[in-house]
Symmetry: C2
């Protein structure tokens, strides 16, 4: 399972029961929280997110609609007697804010909160089965996107063929990694005869809050699913630019340039009660677009 569940899809001013930005990414048995707007812990309860399984939280930038729910979530973890360590990736000033808040409330968290300041585009996590990278986007203050990748999957052994060639089991790991097999007489059995390609690895890109910038497309190239903000419709292209935000049309243009498979749009301005036009506008340029609706889980495949 690789998917993203939307907990908040609105821009800064909550409206029409839409909430500020928060998403939970599920990758195999890992849960990641990306951004944590006010009310995220309540949204987690509503949508049955197993919050105790989250060990990594990523905060894109320090506009409040992307992190004002974090102090509450962190203290709630404490009240729930969490002991497992929690990794937080965020702009460095957030550590000072959290330290100050915990200090004035005389609170000591019963778990270790490990803070990783976001500084340059970099590989944040590199595990056996997944990796997470940060990348710079273009907003009014420092802002980061995140790229979640499944690790390259090993090829599968074609058991009938390996039996026919009488290939010893202790060679299988090398075959899965793509090596050819050299027989005792020196002849080579090509890897693609002995193994079958696995499903390709998948990637999810969260492009945070950003003005239209084609560098984003270069970075998220070929992602399976791209989340790109679409705060306004194209009728407000100038306003979008002045606030370092994007329109729905611009999000679609990035998706098209990047050759992603699917585009999710969100961070809708409270100006708009009905969201249909966002979808119409984006689909004209990039047909496989969906609205990042709250409570919905989008499978990445």
């Amino acid at each position: 399972m690789f998917g993203v569940t939307i907990l908040g899809n609105n821009s800064a001013l909550p409206a029409y029961n839409r909430h500020p930005t928060a998403q939970v990414i599920t990758l195999n048995n890992h849960l990641f929280l990306v951004d944590c707007g006010e009310g995220t812990q309540m949204q987690m309860s509503l949508y049955k997110i197993k919050r105790s399984r989250i060990h990594h939280i990523f905060i894109s930038h320090l506009h409040g609609d992307h992190y004002f729910g974090l102090p509450g979530l962190l203290t709630s973890y404490g009240l729930m007697s969490r002991t497992q360590e929690l990794h937080l990736y965020a702009p460095s000033a957030l550590k000072e804010i959290l330290d100050f808040i915990l200090n004035v409330s005389a609170t000591t968290l019963p778990y270790e909160l490990i803070f990783h300041p976001l500084e340059n585009s970099s590989l944040l996590i590199d595990e056996n089965d997944f990796s997470v990278e940060s990348f710079e986007v273009f907003h009014r203050i420092d802002c980061w996107g995140f790229l979640f990748r499944e690790k390259r999957k090993l090829r599968k052994i074609n058991a009938d063929v390996t039996a026919a060639y009488n290939i010893p089991v202790d060679s299988f790991e090398r075959l899965k990694n793509g090596e050819d097999f050299i027989q005792n007489d020196g002849t080579i059995v090509p890897n693609n005869v002995l193994t079958i390609a696995n499903k390709p690895s998948r990637a999810y890109a969260f492009a945070a809050d950003t003005i239209y910038n084609e560098n984003v497309a270069a970075i998220v190239k070929h992602a399976d699913v791209l989340y790109h903000e679409a705060t306004y419709l194209k009728e407000k292209t100038d306003k979008a630019a002045s606030r370092f935000h994007s329109t729905s049309e611009q999000a679609a243009r990035i998706a098209k340039l990047a050759h992603v498979k699917k585009l999710l749009i969100g961070h809708f301005s409270s100006t708009y009660e009905v969201l249909d036009d966002f979808l119409v506008e984006a689909k004209e340029i990039f047909p496989n677009t969906q609205l990042a609706l709250e409570g919905q889980t989008f499978i990445i495949n």
Copy 2:
């Protein structure tokens, strides 16, 4: 109209769709916000509170469940282009937190936020028609209760009697203030012949988070409505004390000692899904008790 609308009645860990502490007090045409737990601005939308009419916010203490909704509310006011000044009464460290948060987000509020640090029990506001006092309660960190009083109402002119005595209109203000009238021949017409008593002034006391302490009863004596926290049932009296909280029974004992007219209880622990026992327990000692249920408005009279 003098009433209190409950926006959040749960203790720190949100549960069962109950929210952290927040209340809106309406007094004539004034709206006051007391505490501002995470999600308060969404609760305001849900319960149709006219947030733009709030000019005074009171924060009892710096445990997050009493103010983590404040940064979001203040920035939302900015996004709504508020220009009217806003008075904030809170422990002094909150100013540092807010300044830091606004600074890292490069946000300048378009309205004046006037910060009043809470230091000693004192008269915070003294207007013609109402006053607000802070008083110390007894919690793990510095914590304040608030007493909202209607100002003493003037007596009403008994028009038939003043006409019969031929009393000039320019004496009416003095009569309303309770003075007797001295006729030209030196005889005195007693005030209570010429005027009628108005309804008595009313008071609402918000006792914040506190351990059982009879000093609170002395301070809130004769309030029309007392809100007192009741985090636990009496079966957890020891736990309540160890966390500087109260039980439902203890809240009722304070209400009885203080001779208030009505008791509201709230700040329920997330241990309890059903709240019926809180009411049963309190009513044994103080029959006129009600649960501070979210969305409900309690008239103070």
